[in-house]
Amino acid sequence: MSVGVERLRGRAWPFAPGSWPLLLSLAAWVSMAPHMAAALLPAAPGPACACHIDHTHGVVVGPIVDALGWARNSAGAEALQRAWSWVVMAAAMMVPASYPILRELWGRAFPSQRLLLVGAFVGAFLSGWAIPGVLVAIPGVFGGITGFVPVAMLMTVSAAWYFFPARRWLHAVGHRRIGLSGRTSTAVVQAAGQGLLAAFACALTCLPWMVACAASNHHPALMIGGATAIGYEQFGTQPKPQQLAGLAGLSLVLWTALSALVE
């Protein structure tokens, strides 16, 4: 007699178990696509593009913030927009990188706890990523970082950072396993703790590139380049630091060339 595990799989979901948070990433990429496309178009009189997204503040305005419509001209709103755009960017670029942890968490959880624990992990992961987003949102601090020189410096730091053993160690820390309790309430806290740990380790390994993305007004060359580097590092065959650093350099060159073309 079969133990019946086949019936527990949840066959309705066509992808690997525990992969549903990737939809968040997809949604984030879709929501940012018009803005990124606009960055590739020449500046023209009137609205910058037809995506109904505010480009004037140098941030991506998510539909929720946009729908609120309150105090759009205040500094607080701009900070909120910057923080929101940071979280959307993190969801787009970083949630796929956490997939191995999600997959393992899904397997380790009792079936009745799976959605809850994966949700706790993702929620904590994005919350952890929001903390540097709040810093980015502070007007006059990171908000003032724009233009070629700061972005080029950040990308240079990104490229150099790949060669430090401390970065590889941080990457491993982000994948440390945390034991799960049999009690659901405790297990939720532990899954959230793992999400925070993964977010902080991830943020420290990728922060210069992510700030460069924000400073470049989420230019597709840096966003897609960054996502490629993260994916290559996570799922590739242990790329060498010089390969990842080369990718950072290539992204910078593309950003420079495309920006020059648009101007």
Binding site: E6, R9, H175, R176, G179, S181, T237
Partner: protein, 472 residues
């Protein structure tokens, strides 16, 4: 490729055979070479492990450290807790064998010299010592315990160097590994499809026979075989790994479902080596996955009679279910007793009836996750001692936690960030052999982790992050 040489069981070498004589001759020459010479023994040992506090073991007075570029490129590259454990070590062994043959030829030996393997699991056939009352094949062959031979190293536990059979039944038992499925999230023959030096669940063969034989040579720092960074300095290491390489083929011959992985990652991941002439060698798992494509073969690759009646596990990594778990377990030199409650009903139509009576067509496993220690690096035999709180008489030995590399894997500053080691014990047979009256329903299983090979007076502690009962 047609095999040009045969790797023989070291215990079945015919009288007067010179294989070990030439091996000793070559090892003597290799030991004299500097660390950065790919023709030397120390180079080959450092390719396996060269990091952490044991790194200086390789350094000689007045010797310059190895060029860092060489270290980064070639040294400290062994694959453990990874599906690449077997292919990486096959290529590694092949290059070592070619280096030994280079030295054998230089010494006037045969051009077709082949590395023998050490079969410690089965009585040799033909048996050269039929009147020996001991399980002599679980000890070391004579040249390895002769202090005058280059094959001797003092860095072994005394019993090993006395020529006594020092490996236990549990150390060399093949059944658990030989029935492991090709695929599985936790319980599988190969282990996880990740390229790493030490991170992830041990595959079934690696986590059992491989690790236990390594660790049964005695504890660090007194034993080379115990250490990732030094195992290759003991000439028996290479015969042990030849046997592990052979057992890969034996496992394939056990059942048609035992194949090579089909994952894209298996095909794409590449490894870089340096041969004895200094040439670069790039390999991927498909280059070495079939024994028939190798330039050597083995004397015996058929499943031994001890594997008769083996029930084969079919596993699917999409269907694992956690039935129960226990976390934060402190282990001491006396071991630990842990009760794991089965809290998840695995048959939805029979809620709260945890494990059903009858056949189990999946593997039931105990995962041992994140074992970390700084001073308790011992093998722990795992015994099932009670079911539903009732003591089993006698208790059932279900496997072992053999944490080869745990000292490295517990170091916070190392590349694995102190994640510890992960292992799996297959409980399926133990479960099926329980009387039906006990088996239905099972609400708890009690395990005793009992350390073995603990030196007298030793003290220490370790921590298991989590134990889980898993069906997959």
């Amino acid at each position: 490729m047609v095999a040009t040489r045969t790797r023989m069981n070291v215990w079945a070498l015919p009288p007067g055979d010179q294989t070990l004589h030439w091996y000793a001759e070559a090892i003597g020459r290799m030991k004299a070479l500097p660390l950065d010479d790919p023709k030397g023994l120390r180079w080959h040992a450092a390719v396996h492990g060269y990091s952490g506090p044991n790194r200086d073991k390789f350094k000689r007075p007045g010797e310059k450290p190895v060029n860092q570029a060489l270290v980064d490129r070639y040294l400290n590259k062994c694959q453990h807790g990874s599906a690449f454990f077997l292919p990486w070590h096959r290529q590694y062994l092949l290059l070592f064998e070619e280096t030994v043959r280079f030295h054998v030829r230089a010494a006037g030996g045969p051009a077709d010299w082949a590395l023998p393997y050490w079969d410690y699991s089965e009585r040799p056939a033909p048996d050269r010592y039929p009147n020996d009352p001991t399980d002599y094949w679980r000890g070391l062959p004579a040249p390895f315990i002769d202090p005058a031979s280059p094959l001797y190293v003092s860095e072994r536990r005394p019993k090993a160097n006395k020529g006594e059979p020092f490996l236990s039944d549990g150390d060399v038992r093949l059944r658990g590994a030989m029935r492991a499925p090709t695929r599985g999230l936790f319980n599988s023959f190969y282990g996880p499809m990740v390229k790493n030096h030490f991170l992830g669940f041990f595959g079934a063969l690696e986590g059992s026979v491989h690790n236990r034989v390594h660790m049964s040579f005695g504890m660090a720092p007194a034993s080379f075989m115990f250490l990732v960074d030094g195992a290759g300095m003991d000439p028996i290491f290479w015969l042990h790994h030849a046997n592990i390489d052979r057992l890969w083929e034996v496992w394939k011959n056990v059942d048609p479902s035992h194949t090579t992985p089909s994952a894209e990652r298996w095909k794409k991941v590449q490894f870089e080596f340096r041969d004895h002439s200094g040439q670069n060698v790039i390999m991927a798992a498909p280059d070495v996955e079939h024994l028939a494509s190798m330039p050597y073969t083995y004397q015996h690759t058929a499943p031994p009679s001890s594997l008769a009646g083996l029930s084969i596990r079919q596993s699917n990594p999409e269907t694992e279910v956690t039935l129960g778990r226990q976390r934060g377990i402190k282990v001491t030199e006396l071991g630990v007793v842990v009760q794991v409650a089965v809290v998840h009903p695995i048959e939805p139509e029979r809620p709260r009836t945890p494990v059903p009576v009858g056949q189990l067509d999946k593997a039931l496993s105990l995962t041992i996750e994140g074992f970390k220690t700084k001073d308790l690096p011992y093998v722990f035999e795992v015994w099932l001692t009670a079911v539903n709180g009732e003591t089993l008489q006698p208790p059932v030995e279900v496997g072992a936690l053999a944490p080869f590399g745990v000292l490295d894997a517990s170091a916070i500053g190392a590349s694995h960030a102190g994640c510890g080691v992960d292992s799996v014990v297959d409980l399926t047979d133990a479960y099926l052999n329980l009387p039906a009256t006990i088996r239905s329903p099972i609400v708890s299983l009690t395990f005793h982790f009992q350390p073995v090979y603990v030196p007298p007076g030793a003290k220490g502690t370790g921590k298991i992050e989590e134990l889980r009962l898993v069906v997959e």
